[in-house]
Symmetry: C2
Subunit: 284 residues, 2 copies
DNA sequence: ATTTTTCGTCCATTTTACGGACATAGCATG
DNA sequence: CATGCTATGTCCGTAAAATGGACGAAAAAT
């Protein structure tokens, strides 16, 4: 499979057995699998339903969008609904993903969900440092704090709440993401977010400088602009393609954050980020 | 087919139309669907893989557990893997749920995930009261805080962190869940958790009294045992079968929690809990 | 090196799924 | 409230898709 062989369909003349002229292998000429047509179609349907899960999909639209016959789609949907993979609103007749889809997702999450993958590492960092660790994920021009793990040190700095969304570049984890992006994208982001930075006490001008510094160091570092006496260190997490999309960061009071300790923490973050990336990369 | 193959291959006698004697309807005698065998089998496989997703499944085990032929299972898995629904570890050959399963789950979540369903209501409560709202979910003999939404009132009480897990009955939301359970289960829970209550400053004895009070009132209420001056109100959320499995609660400083206000908040919680239950019930 | 177990593939057979045609429900419009 | 119009749901003869017995290859165990 995968490469495209001879285009001749081999018309196989002298027909004793009327049926099945074409040779059947595990994949046909175009590299498509055989013996799994209906499963492929069912998955195609699921993807199509997922793509419109907010509004729901009507039978006819699904048939059109998948280029399948209406009866075929209907029969498959009935089965998928029966098994809970999809759900049909009894009033509108529209189809949505069902509870089984949700439950499979929950089961699969530990191998794909950044938060779950990162969790053990965050615990290790919090235990090693005693300070609070944050996991930040990029979301368009923003960064969202998707997890936090508190260390044992009794004095806690102002902590980023889970779910909090701020313009890219504002937080230290966020800054690590920005710094790891290609030059021109950094500029675009800073320009786009310019008007929003003020209210977070960040000057767009200094941001580029900070990003360059982070690039040189290999980690981001910053005194919290709004809170004096708080210092944070961050490190980016990259996806399969090398694009930074998340970051780990540690935040604590400046007196605990000596230069030496900054280096230690940066190393710790780097190691854990690598570990996470490895799991994301092969998915295995 | 599907049932044990009679060894006679049935040489198909007087062959005008060799095929199909049995009448075919959309469901056969036993009520099972027709025209969807392979989809049913594929979903069966997915369920089986999900059930062993921690360890992964070997081809032969899947064949055994699903009572399907190995070649059939293999062919289907190849397709499912091709589409990303499952993933095969290249070293061990074991099968796991794939990224598509995770992504479908994410898409389906807004209609099934308690946190997502409850979110709008929590925002409404926080806006109406100005205080912090908590969403608690039962997990065995514990309760876990799965979401929190802060109100605008500047003085915040000690807040339960997201992800925090405590013995059932310790928090006010937790207490609401316990109170809504059947009498004998309450006893069992209190007995089982007895040794753990101490460290949370809750006496197992008073807990039963508090639960009875909550049953009478229709909502749970408590002065935080460890923090003087904090008062909370909670209301249970029940699933389709009427079993309480989660709760909403509001917590604030006692001076804000007058008797009159307790009633208002209790009503608010009750209404939002009802709304959430309705969405859970029909799933639509 | 040899046996045993498991994975992967082939291909003739026939059962399964397909889809044209029809039936029925919902919903505007004349 | 018929009347067309559009949508969902179902039937069933046919053909193509999926099945599974058999075999080969690759690991794993002995």
């Amino acid at each position: 499979m995968a490469f495209a062989p001879s285009s001749t369909p081999d018309p196989s003349p002298n027909t004793v057995n009327a049926q099945a002229t074409a040779t059947r292998k595990s994949a046909d000429e175009s590299g498509r699998l055989t013996g799994t047509q209906s499963i492929e179609r069912a998955l195609l349907l699921l993807r199509e339903i997922a793509a419109h899960n907010r509004t729901g999909s009507r039978l006819l639209d699904l048939a059109t969008r998948t280029s399948l016959q209406r009866p075929t789609v209907h029969r498959m949907l009935k089965c998928l609904a029966h098994e809970g993979m999809v759900q049909q609103d009894p009033d509108t007749h529209r189809y949505y993903l069902g509870s089984m889809a949700f439950e499979l997702g929950l089961t699969a999450a530990p191998r794909f969900n950044l938060r779950e993958i990162a969790h053990p590492g965050m615990v290790r960092i919090a235990e090693a440092t005693g300070d609070t660790v944050f996991l930040t994920q990029r979301s368009g021009l923003d960064a969202v704090c998707i997890d936090r793990h508190e260390g044992t040190f009794p004095i806690k700095t102002f902590t980023l709440d889970i779910g909090m969304r701020r313009p890219l570049g504002v937080g230290t984890g966020s800054l690590a993401i920005v710094a790891a992006l290609p030059e021109e994208e950094i500029q675009t982001i800073i320009n786009s977010n310019q008007p929003r930075y003020e209210e977070y006490g960040v000057a767009g001008g200094t941001l580029l400088t900070q990003a360059k510094k982070a690039q040189k160091l290999g980690y981001s570092i910053r005194e919290a602009p709004t809170l004096a006496g708080v210092r944070s260190v961050g490190h980016s997490i990259k996806n399969q393609s090398g694009v930074p999309f998340a970051a780990l960061s540690v935040s604590t009071i400046s007196s605990r954050m000596t230069e030496k300790r900054v280096l230690e923490i940066a190393q710790l973050l780097k190691n854990e980020a690598r570990l996470i990336e490895r799991q994301l990369n092969n998915g295995m």
